[in-house]
């Protein structure tokens, strides 16, 4: 499972509210009550880094 940042194409920079899961293009909010975000945190804790936004 890999992730990448999402770019805000109006203001520039990455969205601060979510990350994209590459496998299904789902956007995962930065909310610790969200189990998908919990999985993302484990992935990051394992030493992984999200890919840059397109």
């Amino acid at each position: 499972m890999t992730y990448k940042y999402i770019k805000n194409d109006i203001e520039g920079g990455n969205y601060t509210a979510c990350i994209k899961r590459i496998a299904d293009l789902a956007t995962i909010p930065f909310d610790e009550a969200n189990p998908d975000y919990q999985e993302y945190l484990k992935w990051v804790a394992a030493g992984n880094t999200p890919a840059a936004a397109d």
Binding site: I10, K20, N34
Partner: protein
Amino acid sequence: MALTQVKTNAIADDAVTTDKLANAINTERTANTAKVSLEDNAVTLAKMAGGTDGQIITYDASGDPKAIGPGTAGQVLTSAGAGAEPAFATPAPGVGGAAGLDLNDSTALRLGTDNDLSFYHDGGVGRLYNTTGSIVIRSDDYYFKDSTGNDDIAKFIEDGACELYHNNSKKLETTSTGATVTGSVVADNTPGRNLIMNGAMAINQRVSTAGLSDFNPVTNSLYTLDRWRAGTGSSFDWDSARVKQVADSPDGFSNSLRVDIGNTETPGANQNALIYQKIEGSDLQGLAYGTSSAKTCTLSFWVRSNKTGTYCAQISQHDCGKYVLYEYSISSANTWEKKTITFSGNTSDVIANDNGIGLEIKFHLTSHSNDHVSATTSWTAKPSGGTGSTYLTTSNQVNLWDHADNVWYITGVQLEVGSAASNFEYISYGDELLRCQRYFQRVNGGLTGVGASSTSIRANYIPIVNFRASPTISGNAGVDFNNPGVNSPTQSSFDCGIQFTYNPNNVGITLGLGNYSNATQGYTYIQWSSATEYIDFDAEL
């Protein structure tokens, strides 16, 4: 006149000698067969032999007369039936008089011309039967107590209260203005008593799309019918097994969840498979876990399988990692059976009052021996060593994957406070759908947006009910928009995320969507997705 009769008194004493008798008489006399006939009524009481005072005469088995008795004072003559002599015997104690009236088991006191009212004890149960009309009992006050007279069961007081007791403790009392209940009231029609959502397996938002009829977890846990998750422990391979919503169900239900096994599998080390539901902690505060008042609950469900044997149901408390584990048996193949499991509340560990996981209700389908433990009715910490699995069964758990044709169904799942299962709480489809939509909503026409650039659109979505938490957003196709008669932006690939942090207590989500062509900044758009295109908002636990 000829002399034809001579009376005996006319014969001189000793005048009739043997010489005067006929030879036949002498012959009978010599042979001791001479008979003397008595006239009727010739034997009077005075002519009978004397006996003991109180004796009576009967006949023995040879038919000879026999005196019996006299017995003792108070005895009565009792027949022993044909072929046996009657005898004097002491009657059953206490018949009549000051000693009362005693009747043997199942011998009824019967009242009424047609024996309409009968009252007896059959040796185990006292019975009062009335077959005609009603029974009217008149008294000012009534007291029902246990057999010892120590415990109250009910009291009915003239001009006063009617009281009902449980274990000698008053629970319900009528008053001049109504009634007072001490404790909680649980009734079959008490709304909101079922802590399980979609227990009737009626809601299936995820498979409302044509062409997608079932779920195949393969090696990843996933949600299937609303709120019900197919679980895989340690990447157990469900292989071609499918989870489906089907119409096969017991009477009173319209749907069930079915697991079809397509290929045989044997769970490897630490592997499991199960169907389970996670219940939000804030919905469980009434259980008073972590206090001495922790509530006993009852889990009931209907289950069916061609594979008979022992299955396991596990209730896990997420915050503390403790569980209780019960076995249930499917005893008849291909037959719906209702199972009931009652378990005590956890008095030691609180369920956090938040939007996280409170309890998990797990129905196991297979389990590797590394995750075998003993069944327990006590809240037990999950094993700290080994796998430390939260998926636990006993060693008796069947392997549903041991034959390709195996199937397992479940429906009518209910978790409620109390030590007995009430009838299933039916919830309207619309209400149940709303409850499930706190955790998942599928949208294919709910967005309104404004072009932010030629390639992006900003949109607002107002959930039909607020999500439990900020949802993961995914889709099966690009999200198309339309400004009728003006232009129709199309998305090359799905790209939709939350623009600002979502607050579950506020209404509405602001979304950002990219990857568009033909969008125009400032134009207003409505979502223009076909029936088979959707956006999923997933806020499941």
